[in-house]
């Protein structure tokens, strides 16, 4: 009976979703240009907004220009890390080039590439786009499902400032 309960508990634990207050799962991913490798260790002591996006996702198109402005407004203590989930990096690069053209600014945030979708699986991404606000201690403080508009970004800034 004890063994049955053990298996049942383990099984339920496997199906339990990620939630606020949990430790942010670690990752090791290359940037879109393949030149650098980042993991959670690189952001120790910083507030991180981890955003999962793809070029085919309509909500991502809406929020990306807002993200450019968000990262531009912080010089220290906050990093916006975007993770692209497209099948080919060319699509993502084309998308980011169009964002640069639209905003008239160079992409200021870190753009990682995850073709195997390992990060999306680890973070149990339930919709596109999804964002995870991670505090200095590496704990998930807020899970944002869907795209963010300018007003929501302002709200998020207040939350970031509290965590900084």
């Amino acid at each position: 009976m004890k063994i049955l309960l053990l298996f049942l508990t383990l099984g339920l634990h496997l199906y339990a979703g990620i939630s606020e207050g949990d430790k942010a799962p670690n990752f090791t991913l290359k940037t879109l240009d393949g030149k650098k490798i980042y993991s959670m260790k690189n952001f120790k002591g910083e507030v991180v907004l981890l955003n999962l996006w793809a070029s085919w996702c309509k909500g991502c198109k809406k929020e990306m220009p807002e993200f450019v402005a968000l990262q531009k407004s912080y010089k220290k203590g906050f990093k916006l890390v975007t993770v692209n989930l497209d099948d080919s990096p060319e699509k993502a690069e084309k998308f980011l080039a169009s964002v640069e053209k639209k905003t008239g600014m160079k992409i200021p945030f870190i753009s990682l590439y995850d073709p195997k979708k390992s990060l999306a699986k680890a973070y149990q991404c339930s919709a596109m786009p999804s964002s995870y606000l991670i505090d200095k201690q590496g704990k998930i403080r807020n899970i944002i499902v869907g795209s963010l508009n300018a007003d929501e970004i302002e709200q998020l800034k207040l939350e970031i400032n509290k965590l900084k």
């Binding site: 049955l4 298996f7 989930l85 497209d86 999306a120 991404c125 596109m128």
Partner: protein, 74 residues
């Protein structure tokens, strides 16, 4: 008890096949579904034109809406 555990484990393995993560297309896997080619009417203008033709031809037969008699003059 000796038989119950293997049975239980077999049941769990079988039920795992029906797990949501295996049967459901996850949001981040929908790249090809999001392709405009996959939409029911990928060409909006053409769909509108086809709808107009359908209305002229079939509205008189009923089922869609009362529109006109089939002459296409409106």
């Amino acid at each position: 008890m000796k038989l119950t555990l293997p049975l239980f484990l077999t049941l769990i393995i079988l039920l795992n096949g029906c797990a949501e993560t295996l049967t459901r297309v996850m949001p981040y896997e929908k790249e090809h579904f999001a392709d405009p080619k996959m939409s029911v009417s990928p060409l909006a203008e053409r769909a509108e034109h086809e709808g107009h033709i359908f209305l002229i031809r079939e509205a008189s037969a009923g089922g869609d809406s009362a529109y006109q008699g089939g002459c296409g003059c409106r």
